[in-house]
C-alpha cells in the first residue's frame, strides 16, 4: 500500500510549489491518487511558501495533514514549524544553506542535501528544486524515475521543454548528493 504525505517548505522563489507540482504530476503518470495543497496566505506574500502533496494508491481522504511521512525543509522558519510535524520514523530532508539550527529529533531519519551550493557551483540556480527532488526520490523510491520525467514534462508548459534535460540531470545529481545525518 502506498500512502505518502509530504510537506515541502521554504522561501518563495525556491520552486517549492513547482517541486510539489512535479511530484503530483509524477503520481498521476504512475496511476496514483494525488492531492496538492499550497499555502496561499499572507505568509506566501511575506516570503515563505509551502505545499502539501499526498500520493496514495487509494482515494485520498484529507488533503490537509499535520503528520507528515516526509518533510522537505528549505529555510529555518520552516524547520521550526515542520520538524515537530514529522511522524515518528518519518523522513526529514533539508538543505543546510541558511539553516542555523539543524534537526534535533532522534526518532526520525534526517538527510541533508547541499543543493544550493551545488546549483550555485554549476551556475544554474534554477535547477535547485529538481536537485532536491532527486534527493527525495533516492530516499523514498515511491515514484519510478520514468514517471517522474514524464511528470516533469507535464508540469512545464511546452515553451519551457528545452529545460527538461538540465532538470533531468539535476534530479540524477541530487540522488548522488543526498547524505544521511
Amino acid at each position: 500500500m502506498i500512502k505518502e504525505e509530504i510537506i515541502i517548505a521554504g522561501f518563495g522563489g525556491q520552486g517549492v510549489l513547482s517541486m510539489g507540482k512535479i511530484l503530483a504530476y509524477s503520481g498521476v503518470m504512475q496511476g496514483l491518487e494525488v492531492s496538492w495543497m499550497p499555502s496561499y496566505g499572507p505568509e506566501m506574500r511575506g516570503g515563505t511558501a509551502n505545499v502539501t502533496v499526498i500520493l496514495s494508491d487509494r482515494p485520498i481522504s484529507s488533503p490537509i495533514s499535520h503528520d507528515f511521512d516526509t518533510a522537505i525543509i528549505l529555510n529555518q522558519q520552516s524547520m521550526d514549524k515542520f520538524e515537530p510535524m514529522v511522524k515518528p520514523g518519518g523522513v526529514l530532508i533539508y538543505d543546510p544553506n541558511g539553516i542555523t539550527r539543524t534537526p534535533e529529533r532522534q526518532d526520525i531519519q534526517v538527510y541533508s542535501i547541499d543543493a544550493t551550493a551545488e546549483a550555485a557551483r554549476s551556475g544554474n540556480m534554477r535547477v535547485f528544486n529538481t536537485m532536491i527532488l532527486g534527493g527525495y526520490l533516492k530516499v523514498k523510491p515511491i515514484l519510478t524515475f520514468d514517471y517522474v520525467i514524464a511528470g516533469l514534462a507535464k508540469s512545464l508548459p511546452e515553451r519551457l521543454h528545452k529545460l527538461l534535460p538540465a532538470n533531468e540531470a539535476a534530479i540524477r545529481q541530487g540522488m548522488e548528493l543526498i547524505r544521511p545525518r
Binding site: 503530483a24 491518487e33 495543497m37 496566505g41 499572507p42 481522504s61 488533503p63 490537509i64 499535520h66 503528520d67
Partner: protein, 361 residues
Amino acid sequence: MEEVKLMKGNEVVAEAAVRCGCDGYFGYPITPQSEILETLMQMRPWETTGMVVLQAESEVAAINMVYGGAACGKKVMTSSSSPGISLMCEGLSYLAGAELPCVVVNVSRGGPGLGTIQPSQADYFQAVKGGGHGDYHLIVLAPNSVQEMYDFVFLGFELAFRYLNPVMILSDGVIGQMMEKVVLSAPVARWTDEQIAAQSSSWAVYGKPETRTRNIVTSLELEADRQEKVNLKLIEKYRRVAAEEVRYETSLCEDADYVLVAYGSSARICAKVVEMAREEGHKVGLLRPITLYPFPTKAIRELADRVKGFLSVEMNAGQMVEDVRLAAEHCAPVAHYGRMGGVVHSPSEVYEALKREFINQ
C-alpha cells in the same frame, strides 16, 4: 471526449462553465478565487463558444449583470469570496424574488469583515439562511473535491432552471486552491435562441412574439395581498425542493456510536478522522450534507435514534450545528468543533475533540 487532468478547484469552475454551455460569466477578482476569472480570460471562450466573460467594476455590478442575463433565459454565473458575496446579497434576494436561475460560486475565506484570505466555512448562515432580505432560499451545494467543483456547475444550472431559483456553490479556499485529478466531460453546446424560446417562453424576456402576452421580470409588488401570493408560491417551491433535492452521503454510519457531520473540505478532513477512530476500535461514521439547503434533516433524525452523539465539524464558530440540533430533535446530543479565521483544523485536532466531547466521556 472525456479528459483526466490535474487542476485546481478554481480552474475547473472555469472549465465547467465553458463546457456546460454557459452564456456569460460576470465577476470581480478576490482571493482565494481569482483563478476562476483568470482561467476564463486565458480560455477566451468568446472566440469558441461565444460565451461572454466580463470583469465587472464591482461585485454589485457583477450580480446585476447576472440578473440581466438570467432574465433573458441565459445560463449566467458569477463567483466571489466572502466579502464579495456580501456585496452581492442584495442582488441574490432580487434574483430569488424574481425567480431567476443562475449559479453563484462562493470560495469562502475567514471573516467577518475583510477577515483573512485563508479557508473558512463561516458563510454557512449567509448561504443557507438568507444573506439578503426577505423570505427566500438559495439552493446550496457544497463540493468536497475538485471533481465536485466541476460537476456542481453542471448540476447547479440544472437545478437553477428546474426550479427557477439561484443556486449557490458554497466552497472554500481549500477546495478552490488545491489540485486533484478531475475528469472533464465532453462540452455541451450553448442554447440557441430557439431553444431558449421553447423552454423559457413563460417567463424570460428575449423579445416578445405576437403569439403571447409580455413577460415581466420583477421582484416588486406594491399590493401586499399580491406579494403574499408571491411568497406562498415561493414557499411551495422551496417545499418541492426540500422534498426532491436533498443530497447527502454517509460513510460507516450503519454501526456508528458517534457520527461526524461535515461538508466541503471539513468532510474530507473528517473522512480521515473516521479512519483514525476505526483503527483504534471506535465506531465512528460520517454524514456529509451535499446540499446544505435543502438540509438532510430526515437522515439525521433517523440516525439520532441509534447514535450516542453527533459532532458537527465546520471551520466556523458553530453554524450548521444549529441545523443538526434541530434535525436531531433532542434524541441525541450534538456538539460542535471548528477552527476559525482561516485556520484549517487537522484530522488529529478533530479526533481529539471527538474524544473530549464523546468517546472519553
